[in-house]
């Protein structure tokens, strides 16, 4: 990693040059909510003026740039009673601007799942390799809990990371590409003051978290609480609408669908991002549904996120961005569900069962 400092003005000129010459996406204000607050999304940008550098959070994560909601895996051509499969891993290069540390951590988790497992995904790899990521730090929102998940800082998985130290950005340059892009622009060696500012900034961010969730020991709690009544309690609220998974930066579950071309001379195999909360997620041939109840489906989403599945090395895949909690119409959010779970367990341990006495 190489560290430099760039004035905000020069940085804007750098971004402007970058986005004018590349297919780029950055935070833009798309709406104003009924609460008067702006709503941001990562959208195409053609100049630095279009980018809201001081945005709060994007409504949807940046996941779709790596795992599109609909992805063509292959095309089959039928001819003379035979068929040929055509597969393409093409991904045009793009630039993503303004990802938060939790967002970049989410991409790193997806790397583990998509690239480091038994069956690496060439589709994912093509997109990941061709995406230039510029991260930016921010002061947490009242409901951000990435600090609890230890995802509030990031030290890899990006090309360039910018920490706001007042009139300048403190740059962490993590790729030769980023370094050579910056050659044309005025960047300085960090001074002693700059370093102090960076430490202050980090301290400030760390101390600004208002939402804390105790996640240590959670995998064990979840194992023990598999049959807890809280799953039905929260499940009864769940609309099974899949919004949580659609906005989540790490939900990667999908379904595969094959479709004929309209002329029946070929077909496509498509990957659709799905959600374990959708009613037929665990439905199999013959119409049998292994998780017909809302509570069971909700439980599995929490297990995947906070206990971890073998497919992702049993690691917790939640990064604490709370996009799911914000987007959920039924007001189901990780903080309340997890606190509910632990509360039940801990009160039970205190009030009902005692440790066996030494005899």
């Amino acid at each position: 990693m190489i560290y430099k400092v760039i004035s905000k003005r020069e940085f804007k000129a750098f971004i402007d040059a970058l986005v004018k010459n590349n297919s780029s996406f950055g935070p833009r204000k798309v709406d104003t909510g009924s609460n008067g607050k702006p709503i941001y999304q990562f959208m195409p940008v053609k100049s630095a003026d279009e980018i809201e550098f001081d945005y709060t959070v994007s409504h949807l994560s940046a996941k779709r740039f790596f795992l599109p909601y609909h992805d063509e895996l292959s095309h089959f051509n039928f001819s003379d009673g035979n068929w040929e499969q055509e597969i393409r891993y093409e991904a045009p290069p793009i630039i993503l601007i303004g990802l938060r540390p939790c967002d970049i951590n989410a991409v790193n988790i997806l790397d583990d799942v998509m690239l480091h497992g038994a069956y690496p995904s060439p589709y994912y790899l093509a997109r990941r390799k061709n995406t230039f990521i510029i991260g930016m730090d921010h002061l947490p929102l009242p409901d951000c809990f990435c600090h609890s998940m230890n995802r509030h800082t990031v030290n890899h998985g990006f090309n360039l990371f910018c920490s706001d130290i007042g009139d300048s950005y403190y740059l962490s340059i993590n790729s030769s590409k980023a370094f050579s892009f910056l050659k044309e622009f005025r960047i300085e060696e960090p001074t002693y003051e700059d370093n102090c500012c960076l430490i202050e900034r980090r301290k400030n961010i760390k101390n600004s978290f208002e939402t804390k969730i105790e996640v240590s020991g959670l995998p064990c709690f979840l194992d023990i609480e598999f049959d807890s009544p809280i799953w039905q309690k929260w499940g009864d609220k769940c609309l099974s609408c899949g919004t949580c998974a659609m906005v989540c930066p790490t939900c990667y579950c999908y379904s595969v669908e094959e479709r004929f071309d309209i002329d029946l001379k070929g077909s496509t195999r498509q990957n659709h991002l799905y959600s374990c909360n959708l009613v037929d997620f665990a439905q199999v041939t013959g119409g049998h549904n292994f998780r017909p109840k809302n509570g069971d489906r909700l439980k599995y989403r929490y297990y995947h996120h906070y206990r971890g599945f073998a497919a992702n090395d049993n690691q917790q895949i939640c990064v604490g961005c709370n996009r799911c909690g914000r987007a959920c119409l039924a007001d189901i959010n990780p903080k309340d569900v997890i606190n509910d779970l632990r509360l039940e367990r801990e009160s039970c341990m205190i009030c009902v069962s005692q440790s066996p006495d030494k005899t």
Binding site: V30, D31, G33, S34, N35, I39, Q41, M43, H59, L60, Y69, H70, F78, G81, W83, D236, K237, C238, L239, S240, C241, G242, T243, M246, V247, R259, F260, I262, D263, L264, L273, S275, L278, V279, D280, P292, N294, A327, L329, A330, D331
Partner: protein, 254 residues
């Protein structure tokens, strides 16, 4: 036609309209760039909008519209007797549709308002399955041509034909839309069957549920969110009743 050793036949199809705007049938002739290939899958035996030929040897009947006249009851029974597969085609056929708005007022009043008192034989709007057995429903106002193509291909190739079971929210998020509830509106997206690509909400218009209820929907939770957000139950009731697709739920729960 031969596909990987399987013989495939064109489907003998009839398209029929009852009380409706005929917009769904028109969708059959829409999406021009795939139209020749689409029509190549069909052997059209009876379809007033595109051919004057009237043959009665169809296997699949696409039935558009709701039933609002006594003579329509006889006609739908005759179509049922002929068709091997009867498809309720579009929201009016599946649920009664917009026509059902008149079910809320005395029929004489409706006739007076629309026909200026001219003697018209009419009755409250009914969905097709109120009269005859329906084998397959393709909801939508209008139907999505993409979905119709997919289902016709499924029938021709004898592969599975199904509709999405989940709500419009999935499609809507994938279109990167701002949730209309965040803009202070009531939207039926969370309880309506997906498959429309969220066209209405993408155009910032609330979903009115033309595709009917999603499967296993959680109506109490939905009503709770309307109340929690202090939204108008009257507005909700109006939206639920718009296509008649949620009527039984609305009377049960509100």
């Amino acid at each position: 036609m031969n596909h990987l050793g399987f013989e495939m036949e064109k489907v003998k199809i009839g398209s029929f309209d009852f009380t409706c705007c005929e917009g769904c049938q028109l969708q059959l002739a829409n999406k021009e760039f795939t139209l020749p290939d689409f029509l190549a899958l069909l052997d059209i035996r009876n379809f007033r909008e595109i051919s004057s030929e009237r043959l009665d040897d169809y296997d699949i009947a696409l039935v558009e519209g709701s039933i609002t006249r006594p003579d329509e009851i006889e006609r739908i029974k005759a179509i049922r007797a002929q068709a091997k597969v009867l498809v309720a085609f579009g929201t009016c056929a599946c649920f009664g549709g917009v026509n059902s708005l008149k079910n809320r007022i005395p029929q004489e009043e409706a006739v007076r308002e629309v026909y200026d008192g001219k003697a018209i034989e009419t009755r409250p709007s009914m969905k097709i399955s109120d009269i005859v057995q329906v084998d397959l429903s393709i909801p939508g106002c209008p139907v999505s041509k993409d979905e119709v193509e997919r289902i016709i291909i499924g029938i021709v190739t004898r592969s599975q034909v199904s509709l999405p079971t989940y709500p419009v929210c999935v499609d809507c998020k994938q279109q990167l839309n701002t949730c209309l509830f965040d803009l202070g509106e009531i939207c039926l997206g969370p309880i309506t069957r997906a498959g429309c690509n969220a066209v209405c909400t993408t155009g910032k218009t609330a979903c009115l549920g033309c595709r009917g209820p999603a499967e296993e929907l959680n109506m109490p939770a939905y009503l709770e969110l309307i109340k929690e957000r202090g939204l108008s139950l009257e507005d909700l009731h109006e939206k639920l009743a718009f296509y008649n697709a949620f009527e039984p739920l609305a009377t049960d729960e509100t």
